[in-house]
Each structure stands twice: as C-alpha cells, then as structure tokens.
Symmetry: C2
Subunit: 228 residues, 2 copies
C-alpha cells in the first residue's frame, strides 16, 4: 500500500503541514478503499471516527430535506478531506458524501488527526485556513442562492465545473453530472434545470455530445451568469 509521505495528493490539503513522524503514523493507520459511483461514503447523521482523503474521483456532499429533495452543498475532488468538520466539532455528520463517479479514498482514523491538531500548531492553522476558506465559499453560495435566478445559477454551475474539474481532450467538461444533480446543485426542480439547459443549447451557449457537455460560448455564458 502507498505511503502518505510519497502521496502527491497531500500537497493539496492540510496534511502537508504534518511532520514526518505524524505522516508516518497516518500512513500506518490509514486504509484505502474503492467507492463505486453512487455508493455512499458516509451518511447524514452518521458518527465519523475518522476523515476521508479523496485520492481520485468526485464526491457530492449533500443534505436531504424532509420533502425528499437533495441539496448538493459542495463537490469534492482529488485532495479534499471529507468529514473533517464533524471530527473537529465532535458532532455527527451533517451532510452525506456520495460518489459521483468511481472513487479511491483513504480513511484516516480520528485520533491521528486530533492528536496532531492538539500538538502541532502548524497543522492546526493549516486546517483552520482550509475551513475558513470553505466558510467563505459557503457564504458566497448563500448570497448566490438568494440573489440570482435559476438561469444565472445554472450558467455559473457550468463555468464552475469547467474551472474546477477541467475539460477532456475534446473540450467537454471532465465531470459529467446528471440533470438531476445539476438541479440539486443550484437548488431547483429537475424539470426547470432541463428546460434551461435546453435553452442554453438552442442559444449556442453550450453544446452536447451524448451525456457530455461543453461550453461553446464562454463569454455569452458569463454574461448570463452576471446580468439578467
């Protein structure tokens, strides 16, 4: 099994602030697992006794509402550490983590994290920076949700997907989400999302090849995302 010390992924998250000794400990206690598309890594309300470091694939972090609808709060990819928040506050998970495509994740038991937090200020501050950044992003999402139209939010979502998950060789978005997932990201009904995406296609803002979507007119899409 791989050693954390050599893990490239680490460079992207707070684990890079760990000392050699701490990393060794993490490496010795961690386990790696494969998660198939659609499988749940952990569910809302579950008690977590560790965190999950994403080595490959994408996970959606979502919350189920009483009326049966999911709200996707965040998409986490390579380098992200899932469950950190719950471990820190010692609460149960308030979001579910479900694989959007096949994933490889490392499970790191709680103690290795908590002990380092308490003894290594560098690590604690690094984690703090990450969570503080997440908080800023969450605040931005709140503002977007309340002040932008569904059309604007969907336009933004495509731009976000291109910027954060990149494009494949043919220029199509590397991450393919179902219409339902897109609806759940922007907080609207699936039918509404489908209609707007169809409109975007007709207007030439995006193009599709099977399930794949590509941004065809970035500038115009940006216009839609900003003004009405």
């Amino acid at each position: 099994m791989g050693r954390c010390e050599n893990c490239i992924i680490r460079q992207f998250n707070s684990l890079r602030a760990m000392s050699k000794e701490e990393l060794k400990r993490v490496s010795d206690t961690k386990t790696t697992k494969l998660v198939k598309k659609g499988e749940t890594i952990f569910g809302e309300g579950e008690k977590l006794n560790g965190v999950f470091c994403v080595r490959d694939g994408v996970s959606k972090l979502s919350k189920l509402s009483p009326n049966g609808k999911d709200q996707i709060v965040k998409l986490a990819t390579k380098g992200a550490v899932l469950g950190q928040r719950s471990v820190i506050t010692e609460e149960v998970a308030n979001l579910s983590a479900i694989a959007v495509n096949d994933m490889e994740v490392c499970f790191i038991p709680k103690d290795a994290i908590v002990d380092s937090l308490n003894s290594n200020p560098n690590f604690a501050v690094e984690v703090l920076r990450h969570i503080a950044h997440d908080l800023k992003e969450a605040d931005d999402v709140i503002v977007n949700m309340s002040q932008k139209t569904v059309k604007q939010r969907i336009a933004e979502a495509f731009i976000y997907l291109e910027e954060n998950f990149g494009k494949d060789n043919n220029g199509y978005l590397a991450l393919t989400l179902s219409r339902e997932d897109i609806a759940n990201v922007v907080g609207t009904a699936t039918e509404s999302a489908i209609r707007i995406i169809s409109d975007f296609k007709k207007l030439g803002l995006i193009k599709a090849y099977g399930k794949k979507v590509a941004i065809a007119d970035r500038k115009a899409l940006n216009e839609v995302a900003k003004g009405s």
Copy 2:
C-alpha cells in the same frame, strides 16, 4: 479601560483558550469603541488588520449584490468575534459588518491573534471549533434557502430571533429588526416579507406592539416553519 482577563464576554468565544500572558498582551493592545446603530464596523473588500470582539449590541454581516440588494448572512451578538476569517486567510473581508443597534466592540490587532494561533495549539483548535461550527450553520442556511418557501423561512427567522436573542420583560423579541432586514435575512423582497408578516399577525401566530414583535403561537409557527 477594562482588562480582558476580567472580561466576562471572553467565556463565550475562542479567547478563553488563551493563556494569561496572551490575554495580557491582547489587553494591552486592544482598543474599545462605541458603534452607533447603522454605522459600519468594516466593509466588504476592506483589508482588516485585526478582529472585533462584540461586547454589546448586535451586528449584521451582509453582502451587497450587484442589483443593490443586501443579503444578511449572519447576525452576531455578544461574544462573537468578527473578521476572524479574513485575518486567518489573509484576504480582504468578504462581508460587511453593520451595527443593528448601538454596540460596544473591542478591536484586537491582528498580530496578537496570529501569534497566538501559531504558538498555542489550544487556541488554534478552539478557533477551529468555532469556525467549523459556523461552517455547519452556513451549510444549513444553504439548504434552507434552496428548499424552503419564503413563508417557512420567515417563520424560522422569528423562532431563531427568539432563541438567540431572547425576549424582553413583556415577552417581545429582544432584537427588533426592520422589515427590510428580515427580508434580507431570508432572502426575499421587502414587500413579500411585509405581506407574510401581516398574514402571520392575522393568523395569530405573532403579535405586535409598535415595532416590537412577539411570538403568540409558538407551536403553530413551528408548524409553518416545518411543513407547508
């Protein structure tokens, strides 16, 4: 001027994890200021070289959107530390802090905070816990915004105000917000908020005495907040 070591407010925030020496330093460098209702403590985009500890009064943390509407992301009261996030990530403030009523705040220069973070793991972890908790709350707000109706959100807002800011001697909410502020908290048009609040009054869910509002039928209001 008061000494932080004796400040009761401290018990409610992360400063309680500071050592005697650290508190002494904070005490020596801090300044206290009075902020009148409506005045700005700091604005969006402003570079902060310190944090503000709320000793009395309430501040709204909000973001202005291009169309001129404010979204209130959070209400901060006694014990809250404002600007912490920006100081940690070394970014400009992404929210404005405006006094909702007369306030008394202590300004603590950045260095005292940053130095303690880097050297005192207890303090770093305590701050981490607070920010992690804020993040959870922000995620909950995102879900509420996208999955509840305006009516539900306004009902929730009144319950939130009672639970977090309490009642006066006569049972009225201790914190009085303008209709516009309520609208900006739940993310709707001022007129819509006014209409719904009028409905609540007619239905006997709340009652009003001048500007003061009281929850009249807590159970029914709860029903509205949950189901539709």
